[in-house]
Symmetry: none
Subunit: 272 residues, 2 copies
Amino acid sequence: MAGTDKTRSADLGPAPTVVLVNPQLGENIGMAARAMANFGLFDLVLVDPREGWDRERAESTASGAHETVKKAIIFNTLTDALKDQQYVYATTARPRGMTKDVMTPEQAGHDMRARVKRGEKVALMFGRERWGLTNDEVSLADVVVTAPVNPAYASLNIAQAVLLMGYEWFKHGATTLGQATPELPALEGPGLQMPDTRPATKEELQGFFDHLERELAEAGFFKTEDKRPGMMRNIRNLYARTQMTEQEVRSLRGVVASLSRTHERRKKGEEG
Amino acid sequence: MAGTDKTRSADLGPAPTVVLVNPQLGENIGMAARAMANFGLFDLVLVDPREGWDRERAESTASGAHETVKKAIIFNTLTDALKDQQYVYATTARPRGMTKDVMTPEQAGHDMRARVKRGEKVALMFGRERWGLTNDEVSLADVVVTAPVNPAYASLNIAQAVLLMGYEWFKHGATTLGQATPELPALEGPGLQMPDTRPATKEELQGFFDHLERELAEAGFFKTEDKRPGMMRNIRNLYARTQMTEQEVRSLRGVVASLSRTHERRKKGEEG
C-alpha cells in the first residue's frame, strides 16, 4: 500500500465512534471500516444491520482494517447504541423540517476535536445507503452535519460520507496541533519539501544572476543597453517567485556555463 | 437518490479537469466519475488507460455520472493530456525526494477557486491505484497535494482521492453562499499579478524544456545518459514551482537560444 507504514501503531488515541444505522451490505460496512482507518477511527457500531449481512465480505472488503469489523459492536436499537455517548453528529444530505443545529463537516471536525480533547465521548451517525436517517433517528442526535454537494448529484454512499467526516476529524488534529496526538509525529506540513539541500542564500542567487547577465551580454542578448536593466529585472522576478535551493542555483549555473561553452566544444571538435 | 434534485442543472460553471494517469479498472474510473459529479466536476481525461479497460463497467459504475465517462478524453501521454492546462495539482501520498511545493487539499481548494475565477485552466492529476504517480509525472505538475492520513493506514483509492479533492473544490465555492452556482464569486486569492500577459500553457512550457534539453545535450551537459532524466526532472521541478507567464517562457527560450548561439557570433567576429 503506497505510503503505508506498517511499523506505526494504528492507535492514534481517543476518537469518535462511527455508528452505522441499519446497514444493508457487508461490502459497505467493509468500505466504511477502511475509510475509518485512513483517518484514525477504530470504534465501529452497527445498529440493526440487515439480517444475514455478509460478515466475511465485510472483513475482506475492509482489507487492512478487518480488525475494525471484527471488533464492531452490534446493537438492536439506536437508543441503546448511543447511550454512552455524550455528543452525537447525524450526517444527512439535508435537514428535513426540523429545528436543529446544522454544521458543515469542517465545523464538525473542529467541534469533535475540541470535545474529544475535553474527554467527551462523541459519535458520528450514518444512515442507510446514501446518508438516509429517519427524522426520529436524527432527533436523537445533538446536531446535523450536511456536506456541501452538487444539488444535481447529491448522492454520497456510506463509505464516502465516512471518508469526508473522517478526513475533517483527522485534518483538524493534523493542522491545529501540528500532530493528531502526542505519539503521532507531526505530519509533513504544507510548504516546500526540500530533501538533502537548503534554501539558497541571496548571495548565491546574485552570483547566478551576475553569471547569467555576463554571458547574455557576451551573447548579444540585450539588443540595446537601455533594455538590459528591464530584461534582467524580468528574469530576476521569475526566479524570485520561487525559493530556489542551493543545489538548484548550482545546477542553473551549470546550465549557463554549459550552454555558453558550446562554441568551445564545437571548435575543439572541428580542430580535433 | 437521497437529496438529489434532478431539476438543477448539472453544469456549475468552469471547474478543474480531472486527469487519471494509467487507470487500470473500469470500476475505478466509474467511481471517480461519481465522486466528480458530487462536487461539480465534469471534465475527465484518461491517460494511457489499461488496454481493454471495461468501458461498460465504468459507465454502469458511474451511475448518474455515466455522461462524464462517455465524454472522457483519452490521451496516450501525460504531456499531451496537460498541454492546454495552466496549473496542475499532482495528488500523491507523500512527496518523494523532490523540491516541490506541497499543499493540503484545503489549500488546493482555495487555490483552484482563485485560479478558475481568473480564467485559468487547471487540472487535478491522480495516479494509478492508491495515488501512485512516478517522479517524472509529478514533475510535470506545479504543486503536490498531500492529504493528512493515518500513517499506519495511508491507502486511499483513486475515487476516494477524487472525492476529497472535489469536496475541497466545491466547499470553497459553497461555504460563502450556502450553495454553489455559476454566479458564485470565487474566493479572492492572493494570486500573481500578471500585467499584459497570461499563464503559459503546459505545451509552451514543454516546448521550452525540449529546447533546453536539446541544447544541453549538444553542449555535453549530461555527463552520462543515465543521469539525463534525473537532471531534467530537477530542472522541470524548479520551473514548475513558479507559474511562468507566456512572456517569461518566450524570454527564457531567448536566453537559451542566445547562449547556445554564442559560438556563431564569436566565429563571425573572428572571421569578420
